[in-house]
């Protein structure tokens, strides 16, 4: 199996690097994953999507960072570009949480208005998108609490059938993702769609890293069950 070969290669390189007295890996202290090594890097695919920065974590880095710093000085054109880059991601994350299109739109709008107002306060060491998604998440849960009080909750299927897919198991995965408990669903979204590490997720959700891992463990169990 190609991956096992890559893993063995990973280990060999690590041992070699250790012998040389330095640990192989990326500047941020991570080792490239086997999907990356085997040319199946999910972030490559993701980077082609608008709004995903290919490189750069940290304040103002990457295209989103540059745009946000211009937004902080009141640049409306930069704000529109930043909106275009992030709107789909924010909207999908909101849908993952609230499972209602009208509410998700409200979350998106409130989030982007908050980004406009608070751009100057972005001082995190995370990516711009992670910061924005954090705002969206808070807003989404605020709205959910409000809606639960008002008892107007209409859970709907939010994943549209893709006319091109036409494969049964794709439908099965979609259904399984929608049936995940909310906590596991958002961890799955942030991992599989956003490509965040469990540390970044723990930071955003303000929960222990162990909780993120166990949610992922259970989510995977449920999802694999649906794939069988």
């Amino acid at each position: 199996m190609r991956l096992v070969g890559t893993i063995a290669e990973d280990l060999r390189l690590l041992q070699y690097a250790e012998k040389l007295g330095k640990l192989g890996g990326r500047p941020d202290g991570r080792v490239r994953g086997p999907m990356v090594a085997a040319g199946m890097d999910p972030s490559v695919e993701r980077a082609r999507l608008p709004g995903h920065d290919t490189a750069g974590r940290g304040r103002w880095s990457g295209q989103n960072g540059e745009l946000l710093s211009r937004v902080a000085s009141g640049d409306e054109a930069a704000f529109e570009r930043l909106y275009e880059r992030l709107a789909d991601r924010v909207s999908r994350f909101a849908l993952t949480i609230v499972r209602d299109r009208h509410l998700a739109q409200e979350v998106l709008q409130d989030t982007m208005v908050a980004v406009w107002k608070g751009a100057g306060r972005f001082a995190d060491c995370s990516q711009v998108s992670t910061w924005v998604l954090g705002i969206a998440r808070n807003r989404a849960y605020d709205l959910l609490r409000r809606e639960t009080r008002g008892a107007r909750r209409t859970e709907e299927g939010v994943m549209q059938p893709d006319p091109l897919a036409g494969v049964e198991h794709v439908e099965a995965v979609r259904g399984a993702v929608e049936r995940l408990p909310p906590g596991e669903r958002e961890v799955a979204f942030l991992t599989f769609y956003e490509g965040l590490s469990y540390r970044e997720i723990a930071g955003m959700l303000a929960i222990p890293e162990g909780t993120v891992k166990s949610r992922m463990f259970h989510a995977k169990r449920r999802l694999l069950e649906a794939l069988r």
Binding site: M1, M35, F79, S91, F192, L223
Partner: protein
């Protein structure tokens, strides 16, 4: 980190290279000796792409959302009153801009407009 459950709970991040070096190493070492976890890794690869596709298939941001965001941040025109003819006249309007309602006046002359006044000074402090 040596137990199967621990390894299996971080496989998705391992695949993406989203683990620290030491963690990655522990996962690799475990995988080389544990067939069950290697099987789990193969499943994780499959799950990875399937789930990414499922989230991709979610509807994008609604087209109408931007207009609302723009109205709440950049400003939109609320009303406009045109006096006179198109040869010469006066326009007075009001727009909504970041929580305030600036008023503007324009003198129109032969299809061209000259700004007379606009009450929109001040920075965008909220």
């Amino acid at each position: 980190m040596t137990s199967c459950e621990e390894v299996q709970s971080v496989l998705s991040w391992y695949l993406r290279g989203a683990l620290e070096s030491a963690e990655s190493r522990a996962v690799i070492e475990h995988l080389l000796t544990c067939a069950a976890c290697r099987e789990e890794l193969a499943q994780a690869v499959r799950l990875e792409s399937e789930c990414a596709k499922a989230f991709q298939a979610m509807p994008p941001a609604p087209a109408t959302a931007w207009a609302t965001v723009a109205a709440r941040t950049g400003g939109v025109r609320l009303a406009r009153l045109d006096l006179g003819s198109f040869l010469a006249g006066l326009s007075i309007g009001m727009s909504f801009q970041r929580g305030r309602l600036p008023v503007f006046g324009q003198l129109r002359l032969l299809g061209r407009s000259l700004p007379l006044f606009e009450t929109r000074k001040g920075s965008r402090n909220d």
